[in-house]
């Protein structure tokens, strides 16, 4: 050690605890301001009858919650949220695993395919969804045009105008949006499987399907669980796809909890009820997170 670096006293910058605190503080402040504060506010609001017309905090206990629960639209939104999350994520898992399997292969133009696959994820949600809104337009839909030219339909489908096709469309667009993220997560898992294992499977004489279902997927299970966790949280908490495409319509047939909370609380001005609907998601998400993380951990310690 040279003499110039020999210092007797300790500076504040030598203290790892201080440095740790200093470096973490921006993230902590950010989370407190943009997540923590609104979250606490929502809990407070949910136990009052606050609205934009009457912005006073009058505590009413659980009364707001029971009013929300009595609303048939809320129950429909709850069921739709469930349907939406389950179907979209089943599709996401199947498509993402298949895509990841393709993406780890070596082929010409791989970078282009990777780029195209990631595109839905990097495009801003609202912009991407507006593109879909036009694609599914009741009069000018290019999908309808193609189907008409093929002679499969004679009249337009009105994708977003009928309950069944509206729900199908919303699920399809949400799946389209989340698949890239899940595919990248699963791909990371695939790359992490040692090459020796893949070689051993080949030497042991297993074909594609046996390798897929008896080795690859069991080894990927913890990673797939993480992808599902992200997918479920993203489908349940996201309102932009449904809001942009259908605003929950027609007649609430695609209404989900997140859109309902927004429509009730922000557009309808019933802040307390909006907060109560939004909080209703919280125990559900915490429950799902706990279950999936426990499953993932159990697979790991095998």
């Amino acid at each position: 050690m040279t003499t110039t670096t020999e210092r007797k006293e300790r500076y504040l910058g030598d203290n790892p605890r201080f440095l740790a605190g200093l470096f973490m503080s921006p993230a902590v402040l950010y989370i407190l301001a943009l997540v923590g504060f609104p979250f606490v506010l929502a809990i407070v609001y949910a136990f009052t009858d606050i609205s934009t017309g009457n912005p006073e905090l009058d505590f009413v206990g659980w009364a707001t919650f029971s009013r929300v629960l009595d609303d048939p639209v809320f129950r429909e939104a709850l069921w739709n949220t469930f349907l939406f999350a389950v179907i979209a994520n089943v599709l996401v898992v199947v498509l993402a695993t298949a895509l990841a399997e393709i993406l780890v292969r070596d082929f010409k133009g791989k970078w282009l395919v990777r780029f195209l696959v990631l595109l839905p994820w990097v495009a801003p949600v609202s912009l991407a969804t507006i593109t879909w809104l036009w694609t599914l337009d009741s009069i000018f839909s290019p999908i309808d045009w193609v189907l008409r030219q093929l002679g499969l339909i004679t009249e337009n489908m009105y994708w977003l105008g009928q309950p069944g096709t509206a729900m199908t469309s919303v699920i399809a667009v949400q799946t389209w949006r989340i698949v890239p993220l899940a595919a990248v997560i699963v791909m990371a898992g695939l790359i992490a499987i040692p090459g020796d294992i893949t070689d051993a499977v080949a030497v042991d004489g297993a074909g594609f399907w046996r390798r897929m279902f008896q080795v690859t997927i069991p080894l990927l299970a913890p990673i797939i669980a993480v992808a599902v966790l992200f997918g479920v949280i993203l489908t349940i908490s996201d309102m932009s796809v449904v809001y942009v495409l259908t605003r929950g319509g027609p007649t609430n047939s695609t209404q989900v909890l997140s859109t309902w909370a927004f429509i009730k609380g922000i557009e309808g001005g019933a802040l307390a009820q909006g907060a109560a609907v939004a909080l209703f998601l919280l125990p559900v998400l915490i429950g799902i997170t706990a279950v999936v993380l426990r499953l993932a951990r159990r697979r790991e310690v095998m």
């Binding site: 040692p194 020796d196 294992i197 070689d199 051993a200 080949a202 030497v203 042991d204 004489g205 297993a206 074909g207 046996r210 008896q214 080795v215 069991p218 080894l219 697979r299 095998m302």
Partner: protein, 344 residues
């Protein structure tokens, strides 16, 4: 008939040639070792025999049948990997049964075969465990059982001992040899460890830069190296090589002994050995120095502990080598040549 035969085998990865025209034949029941430094192409050669890599050129024959284009499962080979590559989510029993399931064997017969293979390696009590609950040695046995259960015609092993610690390695080597002798299965074994190669191989193929430099018994490759690479790669310390204006000659450090100590049978060639440094290693002494006439090349002599003669540092000593232990190599290509006369 050769169990495994490769003809003119070549493998390019882009601009890099990993295996460069290899011809090799293994005999029935033989333990053949592919030995070489890392990057010499020995693992690529093994993987091509297994069918895990497609050769750029050349043929691979198993039991006289050309299998060059066939996938691994169509060849009757088994392979044990460096990491053992056990399936972590399966029990030991299911690991061993996996190749049989892939064959479509019925469950009853499968159970019998698994028990038979487990019995061969003494791992019956481990059948319900998972790989992560096993020790390194146990994992190796499971990997061997899984490879053997299909009764392959050839057994390919890719540095299977390199993941074990030194103590376990000796025991595992013993196990492996014992088992190979008992089953009598043709084995090709890849290693960079010359001690393993010398101790286990019936024959050794010494490889460098994608080529087989020499194929022969351990005695052959040690005592009659085909070129300077083999001479220097084998032996620890390696063969001493000295350059004359017209050729290169060499001798093993253990053949280089002080005058008077060496048994005087046959003619000996004397050298004046200047000793710089002595390493005392218990069972032997290494003497580092140079020979007067070739003073730019370092020479090592290895004296067994039974030679207690004191050797002074920084002095010349009279040492000699038996004449029939001198090896001669071409100055340009390093190949072995006929004995030459040393001009003095």
């Amino acid at each position: 008939m050769a169990v495994v035969e490769v003809r003119g085998l070549r493998k390019d990865f882009g601009d890099v040639t990993a295996v460069d025209g290899v011809d090799l034949q293994s005999e029935e029941g033989e333990f053949l070792v592919l030995l070489g430094p890392s990057g010499c192409g020995k693992t690529t050669l093994l993987r091509m025999i297994a069918g895990l890599e497609q050769p750029t050129e050349g043929e691979i024959l198993l039991g006289g049948e050309d299998v060059s284009g066939l996938p691994p499962r169509a060849r009757r080979i088994a392979m044990v990997f460096q990491s053992y590559a056990l399936y972590p989510h399966m029990t030991v029993a299911n690991n061993i049964a996996f190749p049989l399931k892939a064959q479509g064997m019925d469950p009853e017969e499968r159970t019998k075969k698994v028990e038979w293979a487990a019995g061969l390696f003494g791992i019956e009590r481990l059948l319900q465990r998972r790989p992560r609950q096993l020790s390194g040695g146990e994992r190796q046995r499971v990997a061997l059982a899984r490879a053997l259960v299909r009764e392959p015609t050839v057994f390919l092993l890719d540095e299977p001992l390199s993941n074990l610690d030194a103590k376990l390695r000796a025991a595992a080597r013993d196990d492996l040899m014992e088992f190979q002798r008992r089953i009598g299965i043709t084995t090709i074994y890849v290693t960079h460890d010359q001690v393993e190669a010398m101790g286990m191989g019936d024959r050794i193929a010494v490889m460098n830069h994608g080529k087989v430099r020499q194929l022969g018994t351990p005695e052959d490759v040690y005592h009659h190296p085909a070129d300077v690479f083999v001479a220097q790669f084998l032996g620890s310390p390696p063969m001493n090589l000295l350059e004359t204006p017209t050729f290169v000659f060499g001798f093993r450090p253990e053949q280089f002994l002080p005058e008077g100590i060496a048994e005087s049978e046959g003619t000996r060639v004397p050298f004046s050995f200047h000793v710089n440094r002595i390493e005392y290693l218990g069972s032997e002494r290494y003497l580092y120095g140079y020979i007067r006439e070739y003073d730019e090349t370092r020479v090592i002599a290895m004296l067994p502990a039974t030679v207690t003669l004191p050797v002074a540092i920084d002095q010349d000593h009279k040492f000699s080598v038996p004449k029939d232990q001198l090896r001669f190599f071409d100055l340009d290509d390093g190949r072995r040549i006929a004995p030459q006369t040393l001009m003095r």
